[in-house]
Symmetry: C2
Subunit: 207 residues, 2 copies
DNA sequence: TAGGAAAGTGAGCGCTCGCTCATTATAACA
DNA sequence: TGTTATAATGAGCGAGCGCTCACTTTCCTA
């Protein structure tokens, strides 16, 4: 198909990314073959290379377009919350929702990206950036709560943010491997309880 | 060297495992080559295969002998703590210590193992078992605290244990990638503060 | 409808890597 | 010191994979 619309090209590109994500998630980056990605994307190997210069480039694109936008997404979706506590608990709920709805694709993709980050500098930088962005956002939420008097004044926004982001990654990880005995709903309740007890000491306990 | 002592053989075996761990951690499992492991272990490729039947077997052995014993280790090292709260905070401290001392070897090995678990059923089972064991132990600590009246009676041992184990894994993960802006010491303080505020409501705040 | 430019094809090149095996070196023992 | 069983060697086999390129197909334009 010569001189084809930009829309067609973008569709193809997304189809390739879908295929690549599926194969990466299923086999891991190294064991995923170009042949299989091409086959699942519905085109030949040669055609695939008109869209992405290397296999590595597909992974990095996925990392940027499908994992790197999480921080921005959280910012946008919690924009209209009233007060720091509502924003914080909305973050927890959004995470739980994302885990259950987008499972297992995105979570496993994150795991694959992490593994590749050990070797690939660009992937490492991308993940570090994602982490820093999430950290910065959570930190700002906690700081907002302290400034408004909602949260205890001696809370450490930076440390608490790091805890929450690490926790999210850890839960995503164990969820990816489908560890039995993990009830995300109950974990949600306990996390909110702990945060409330710690940050809002006056009325601890209920959500 | 024919008819050699059992001690010699065990030393060789450990040398191979050391080399394998180093290369796995540096390159990831798939990109680690037998040639390099053999070279670092100080023997030839052929000799290496007298100790391990396959490359995969080296990884699984590392998972079992160097990662799978964490739960047992925690159990032993916290055996003499007095009371649930002391045991719980000792767990946190042991984790922080392990992170700083054994970094980056073990943490990264865990990450590599996780990546392989996506494809390798045996690795997946090994990691799930490790996770379950840790979960069971943390759960028992919380239950002990509830039974003795130290902890709030309505705490959810299972959910809290899952949170703590996931958190530990998440921190290990971000630490492996050397994410900047993460201060483990301050995270320790905040975690202990949160746990205390939630579990021991009477005197919240100080450690 | 003829011509051309862009999209698409897939066999195969060049290379890497896990693993083998014919051969050699070495330590214990008679 | 000669014998033997075992440890160790490393060139090379076979299979697989990322990527290329000479070629074909398809749609747009004049």
């Amino acid at each position: 198909m010569p001189k084809v619309t930009a829309e067609h090209k973008e569709n193809r590109r997304q189809a390739i990314l879908d295929a690549a994500q599926a194969v990466f998630v299923e086999k891991g980056y190294q064991l995923a073959t170009i042949d299989e990605i091409a086959a699942r994307g519905g085109l030949s190997v040669g055609a695939l290379y008109r869209y992405f210069p290397t296999k590595s480039d597909m992974m990095l694109t996925l990392l940027e377009e499908r994992l790197g936008r999480t921080p921005e997404l959280f910012r946008r979706l919690t924009m209209h919350a009233e007060g720091a506590w509502q924003r914080l608990s909305l973050c927890v709920d959004l995470f739980v929702l994302a885990l259950r709805v987008r499972h297992p694709g995105t979570g496993r993709l994150l795991l694959v990206a992490w593994g590749e980050a050990l070797q690939d500098r660009t992937a490492r930088l991308g993940l570090q950036r994602r982490f820093s962005d999430l950290l910065g956002y959570m930190k700002s939420v906690v700081e907002e709560g302290i400034a408004s008097g909602e949260f205890r004044p001696d809370a450490d926004p930076s440390a608490l943010a790091a805890l929450l982001v690490s926790l999210a990654d850890g839960v995503t990880l164990s969820w990816s491997i489908a560890t039995p005995g993990v009830d995300v709903r109950r974990m949600r309740g306990t996390v909110l309880g702990m945060l409330r007890a710690y940050l809002v000491p006056s009325r601890s306990g209920e959500e």
